[in-house]
Point group: C2
Chain length 194, copies 2
């Protein structure tokens, strides 16, 4: 099983209400059952949009896309595919940059991600936030356009991004348990054994 | 893919606040984002319990187990395994009895189940309730005890039920989209093609 797969939080970011997709790094995120406090994607419910085209636009549905998570390793692969020196998580509005979980975007829907700072076995790890994976985040031209806006002399990046980032654009998730998430926290796939 | 797999709602049931596990059949269920209206398992959040032993008991978490769904065919298999003439969904507190979806309990976490009465292609199917699969419901002795209580002269059923029902005790789910569900409604795995 996956007991031994432990990642680390590199960055914690929030996308405020300002227009645009971009997020900003913070020293910590307060995570409620609505999502990251202050993030525009927070809420127990939200209006349906382009991600759920089978509902009339604006139908109030339960929000299972509160938080966007990306992998440092996968972002580096996408940057290489686009021949970019860097691809910061801020540009594509991510909330969490994670290091050390191979095949991050393929983590199965329904998987719980446990966050905490304590070493396992201390009995206190379970005090942190827990996210439930909704599924793979499919890369879109909106995120591509934000990248293109940051890179001088590279018209076309908006359109190139979706293909370059497919199956490595990370996950969207909802909060099962409230808490705080900070850079340096560990990420455990499934309940830590205590 | 699964476009052509369509099941049918046989019964709609609600478990009221009365003690015990049992549910009662109704002519329709009003489904809100909290669950089945009037059901004791409803709520956008709920206190953690024996199903999430990694949280301190009573921690308020997101409720992803609002609704219990069982399959007519799987219930019949479990009844045969227990040498029972019947195993009504009421006894084990189910909210929906579904017919015609093979391997029901193995439907993957995150799958959306679309409910509606209209034939597909009419453009109006999408007005019904939509549930998101949390996952397999693991059979427990509490449900077994309720069965034993209904069957004269069969002590031991409480303990026999978990083994007899494993991987065919159905699913638990949460509501993505509100609506009504009625006996005779169709159940579509994933968005109906319209």
């Amino acid at each position: 099983l996956s007991e031994s797969i432990v990642g680390m939080v590199v960055s914690v970011l929030v996308a405020g209400e300002a227009h645009g997709l971009a997020s900003q790094a913070l020293a910590e995120a307060e995570v409620t059952l609505e999502g990251f406090k202050g993030d525009k994607h927070s809420g127990l419910t939200h209006p349906s949009g382009s991600r759920t085209p089978w509902y009339p636009r604006g139908t109030i549905i339960r929000n299972s896309r509160q938080i966007s998570l990306v992998s440092e390793e996968e972002l580096a692969e996408t940057a290489r595919a686009l021949e970019l020196p860097e691809l910061p998580p801020e540009w594509i509005g991510a909330n969490l940059l994670i290091r050390g979980l191979p095949g991050f975007t393929q983590i199965a829907p329904g998987t719980r991600l446990f966050f905490g700072r304590d070493t396992f076995g201390s009995g206190t790890f379970g005090s942190g936030a827990v996210l439930a994976v909704e599924g793979e985040n499919y890369p879109c031209k909106t995120a591509g356009a934000e990248i293109e806006r940051h890179v001088a002399g590279r018209p076309g990046l908006a359109v190139q991004f979706p293909k370059a980032a497919i199956h490595r654009r990370g996950l969207v998730a909802w909060v099962e348990r409230a808490g705080f998430i900070r850079p340096g926290d560990l990420v455990h796939i499934g309940p830590p054994e205590e």
